[in-house]
Amino acid sequence: MTTAAAAQPGFLARRHRSYYLFIVPALVVVGAVIIFPWLFTAWMSAFDWKIGTAAHFVGFDNYTGLATNQRFLESIVHTFYFTALAVVVPLILGLVAALIFHREFPFRGVLRGVFTMPMMATPVAVALVWTMMFHPQQGVLNYLLSIVGLPPSLWVYSPTWVIPSLVLVEIWHWTPLVMLIVLGGLAALPTEPYESARLDGASEWQLFRYITLPLVAPFLVVAAVIRTIDALKAFDTIYVISQGGPGTASETINIYLYLQAFAFYNVGNASAVVVVFFVIILALALLLLYVRQRAKWTG
């Protein structure tokens, strides 16, 4: 084959060009529904524009306005608080679950299937069931608390507890994904280091701390990248369960953005929020990818 290609100069180049033709239809679609909206958003962000009224060019005014907008700044704080919890807790629980499911035990396959069901379940449907479970008077969660002797909670009706409660839903939804990613890492682990460490009298904890953890660390970083992107972008569950309330106690950037665009039809300002939001997501993802590059990659 290589000799055939060499015999015909330009054969390879010509072939490559025809392979690019395969990509053209998808590029047209992506250009229309993905790249065009990006550019249009950036353009709109320079206007004072309400749907139904004339647009005025204002340059960077939307951005400078955001810098002093108390409600927007608070929404950034809420987003980071929510994201930190919704990344760290599933990472820890997912690691524990992966260590458990890495062992052999009866019904492992079935239980694993059950455990991974939440990942694909429709977020809105799940959020509605959680809303009913969170209900302070008739909700099943307060009943379960009373069984173990804990006082009832207001859950999403309390400004203090609304974000941790929403994170609870997020943990339920996404811990399985972390578990599956880490399980993939565990499956690839070599057995020799364990055998020699056991011969040297290492304890189970030492085996975990000095062999397992460093080897699955790259997989944990991958899970952290995915989780961070998804938690920053979380919308469905927050919108359905609390709509950003009570008051604005759980209003994240995404909820603020939605209200600006589709409750107040303030598309110029909302577009500026999109741009700032995207920069935040990009910065955090790049930071984590940089960490991943630094971490030893065994895969």
Binding site: V33, V124, L128, Q138, V222, V267, S271
Partner: protein, 287 residues
Amino acid sequence: MSTAALPMAARAGRARLRRRLRKIAFALSVAAVASKKILVFFWMLSLSLKNEIDNLAYPPVFIPDPPTLRNFVQVFAENSMGLYFWNSIVVSGFATLIALAVGIPAGYGIARAQAHKLTVLVLIARMTPALSYLIPLFMVFQFLGLNNTLTALVITHLVITVPIVVYIMAGHFETLPKELEEACQIDGGSVWTSFRYVALPLARPGIVVGTILAFIFSWNNFVFGAVLAGRATRTLPAAVYNVLTFEQLAWGPLAAAALVVTVPVLLLTIVIQKEIVVGLTHGGVKA
């Protein structure tokens, strides 16, 4: 002999006890890990099968007695769940079909032309919040008079389905051996022939995964339908939220509706158990 046997037996017994205790502790930790997952689904099922009195009872009634299908009948008969179910199938179905039509060749082209830089687009698309597509597309649809139509929804759902199909297919074609296609081309076949008759049939497993993932992600989407759809063109998630909650519906029908939305997805999930992780981590693992 007999003097030594007793302590040895005792020690063996103690070791067996310890092993059994450890097994019980392990079983308990498995139960603890899995129970929370089951609780939510169980509660969804329980609420949907109980009458309203039992649903509002305190302490809660866990096992429906007697179970009733009235909630399901109500959401289909009075809240036009059938129509919304059909809307969802049309929107997700067409969005998936179009994504396959442009995404399978694109995945092939990317894999064979070694154009991996294009998958960076998939990564960035994955990171962009859905609302950033929604605002511009909303304006364009308003200009074109397409708001409240299923066409607008199908176009918007391409934002979800095209990147995932391209990503899955590029990864899949990458794993297929080039030699067969090269043999086909040496025999005088065009690039198109080798794609159509050699690569495409071999790629069937990848196509199945891409189709199901694209369909599920599109099916689960809420915000596009919530903003762009009219009363009669809502997709299921948007309908369950808008119609049912704003009409202050009782818990039973709401849980029944939630179940109707989720069950098709859970069934599809079973088919592609192993590939789910690849789908959900797209854009984050291979960059």
